[in-house]
């Protein structure tokens, strides 16, 4: 290196960006990067995004070249990884955790030509789009099944933090379950941690000892489903199909399917129609899908689930429709009205029938 004439080095450095642009204009594949918050594993939030990446690669073949960085912690490290991805020539970058929001916006400002897609955030720019799924639609459907399967009328809910996304899920579960059993209630226990299998186990044990006979969780470990299997208590999974952790007792799972979205957005970059948008998909657009039902679920319940699923997909059924009372017995959703997206996004109250404090 030291032997090279300085001018050559400089010329090389100057020429590189130009060469890269030209290469990108030609048939070179679009590089698509994914930033994951956790290890991929065999199931879970990050695993579903990885399935989306693989689907994208399989569908578009050599038109795209995908890569990922897993287990990126939210914070300063995220910005470094995203910046690295952008400088590596990725034309489209998906950052798949809420905590990547500010780093994504920051890096996007210095790479105006690169398109960014941030999952579950609310900040956008001309080159940053956001996307998320209506997780609560899946919760409503899981609640419907849980309500039918519960004999004691008590659902136990292991939840991480009282943020709107979790609160929506709990209320939707209750409203779904009440379609099956109008007196059912939900006991909520907060673990104050997205990821602490030990705490999930303690919370699940507690809920069982207090009479819950269906367990659900909004944390990132499959522990709740495992505890249900160990103690012969029904569970429903979240993120991925969790039936492998509870082959006998996991009733169904609310799963997130990002495949079509990733393919669509990559195609848009390829044909130059990409724009910064805000997507909130659900059962209708296939972003939320219920995993295959446990054999123990009666055919009548399966039929009802199928009807409710297609009603939600067609927009005929909205989970948050009044009359719904809050814990204090006041009207939270007036009769016949549906909550607006804005009201759903800022949900900070529990419906009557939920036992737990916000």
């Amino acid at each position: 290196m030291t032997n090279l004439p300085r001018r050559t080095v400089l010329a090389g450095a100057l020429a590189t960006p130009a060469l890269m642009t030209r290469a990108a204009d030609a048939a070179a594949p679009l590089k698509v990067g994914f930033v994951y918050v956790a290890p991929i594993g065999k199931a879970g939030w990050t695993y579903q995004h990885e399935l989306g990446r693989l689907a994208l690669q399989a569908k578009l073949g050599d038109k795209v070249k995908t890569s990922y960085v897993a287990n990126v912690s939210e914070g300063a490290d995220a910005e470094r990884v995203i910046r690295q991805m952008a400088s590596d020539g990725n034309g489209l970058i998906f950052t798949t955790s809420f905590g990547f929001m500010n780093p994504t916006i920051k890096v996007a400002a210095s790479f105006p030509k690169v398109k960014f897609e941030h999952c579950t955030g609310y900040k956008r720019r001309v080159n940053v789009a956001t996307y998320s799924a209506r997780f609560y639609e899946g919760r409503y459907l899981a609640g419907l099944v849980a309500g039918h399967m519960s004999k004691k009328g008590v659902i136990g809910y292991v939840a991480a933090f009282p943020i709107p996304e979790v609160v929506q899920g709990i209320n939707a579960t209750l409203l779904g379950a009440r379609k099956a059993n109008p007196n059912i209630k939900i006991k909520v226990v907060w673990t104050s941690s997205w990821f602490d299998p030990g705490k999930d186990r303690e919370a699940a044990d507690t809920l069982i000892s207090q009479g819950a006979d269906v367990l659900m969780n909004h944390t990132d470990s499959p522990t709740t489903v495992q505890v249900g299997e160990e103690k012969g208590v029904w569970t429903t999974g979240y993120d991925s199909d969790m039936s492998m952790y509870g082959p006998k007792t996991c009733l169904t799972s609310t799963t997130m399917i990002w495949d079509q979205y990733y393919i669509k957005r990559a195609n848009m970059v390829l044909d130059g129609t990409w724009k910064s948008t805000d997507t909130w998909g659900g059962v209708g657009s296939g972003m939320i899908r219920m995993a295959p039902l446990n054999k123990a679920v009666p055919a009548s319940v399966a039929k009802e689930l199928e009807t409710a699923t297609s009603d939600i997909a067609a927009g005929r059924l909205k989970p948050f429709v009044g009359p719904v009372l809050n814990q204090a017995g006041k009207v939270a959703i007036p009769s016949g009205q549906a909550l607006t997206d804005q009201q759903i996004l800022s949900m900070n109250w529990f419906a009557q029938g939920v036992e737990g404090k916000l």
Binding site: G198, K231, Y245
Partner: protein, 310 residues
């Protein structure tokens, strides 16, 4: 009847939550009584959890899984002992490095097994129990052999430290390595074995998590329990029975918090999470208030390196 089941299930859940803390805490307690402060408990636990899970997945044997975890924890501790006892590296810095190393190493070892479903260690001491047994017996289903082992270990360690000749020598080394050395005690050998025991127990604590309590391997699954164990050792003023009380208290606080929440009462879970650390600080303040008590409680040579003079 329903109340009895509830009380019993709280008790059982408390014991289960305490077991990994007891294993890790007892190991560290013995190491510290010999005068060595090993802050690498969290790292050794993680490596034990990953290796234990992997060994069980490969061989299908719980016993081999536990043994592998014990050996892995001891191997990590041996590395620590080599650096601090032989090469006289700073114990605090080396211990912290061991934890960071353990986090990464366990992630690497556990990679092929991340998220693989597994069935937990069966409650082998309760033959004939099944899911359709009466409620009272079902509660006992939760007690796996490791919980019994953890409490047996308390009795054994307490006896060893107070009644055995080797235990006396170990305590002497922890109080004053120079004096013990002058009396012909093999200071470095005893410290090495004590550190090794600490590692083995931390490995076992990790395996308790990955094979029994939450049967799976995922990165960082100990979620800070190694640090809580360390705090409990100070809280216990280096006495096994107080350590047990601390571990049970900590387990109970967590379980009681969930029970209260499910009943509709509310506490701040964040405040509760700080309790073991707060209690440790309070104990530290109390025992350092006068020099005599501090001297009686803490091993006098804790954290001080020893170089044999001849």
């Amino acid at each position: 009847m329903a109340d009895l089941v509830l009380i019993l299930s709280i008790l059982v859940a408390t014991m289960r939550a305490a077991a990994p803390l007891l294993f890790a805490g007892l190991g560290e307690l013995v190491a510290e009584r010999s005068g060595v402060l090993n802050l690498g408990v969290e790292g050794m636990m993680l490596v034990g959890a990953a290796v234990g899970f992997a060994a069980h997945a490969v061989t299908g044997s719980f016993v081999l899984g536990l043994l592998a975890a014990i050996l892995a924890g001891a191997a990590m501790a041996a590395l620590f002992a080599l650096l601090t006892l032989r090469l006289l590296a700073n114990q605090v810095a080396t211990g912290l490095a061991l934890t960071i190393f353990g986090v990464g190493l366990s992630a690497l070892i556990g990679l092929p097994w991340a998220g693989v479903p597994a069935t937990g260690l069966p409650a082998a001491l309760w033959p004939g129990l099944a899911h359709d047994s009466p409620a009272l017996q079902q509660v006992l289903l939760l007690l796996d052999p490791l919980v019994w082992l953890a409490f047996a270990a308390v009795v054994a360690v307490d006896w060893f430290l107070r009644r055995s000749r080797t235990g006396l020598a170990l305590r002497a080394v922890g109080e004053s390595a120079e004096v013990a050395h002058a009396l012909g005690t093999k200071v470095l050998r005893i410290r090495f074995l004590a550190v090794l025991f600490g590692g083995a127990m931390a490995g076992l604590a990790g395996a308790d998590l990955s094979l029994a309590y939450t049967p799976m391997w995922v990165e960082n699954m100990t979620a800070g329990r190694g640090w809580i164990a360390l705090a409990l050792v100070v809280f216990s003023t280096w006495k096994p029975w107080w350590l047990t009380a601390g571990a049970l208290l900590f387990g109970f606080v967590t379980i009681a918090q969930f029970q209260a929440e499910a009943f509709g009462l509310s506490f701040s879970p964040d405040l509760l999470a700080t309790l073991p650390y707060l209690a440790t600080i309070v104990v530290l303040v109390l025992i350092s208030r006068d020099a005599t008590r501090l001297r009686l409680a803490a091993p006098a040579a804790l954290g001080k390196p020893f170089r044999p003079s001849d």
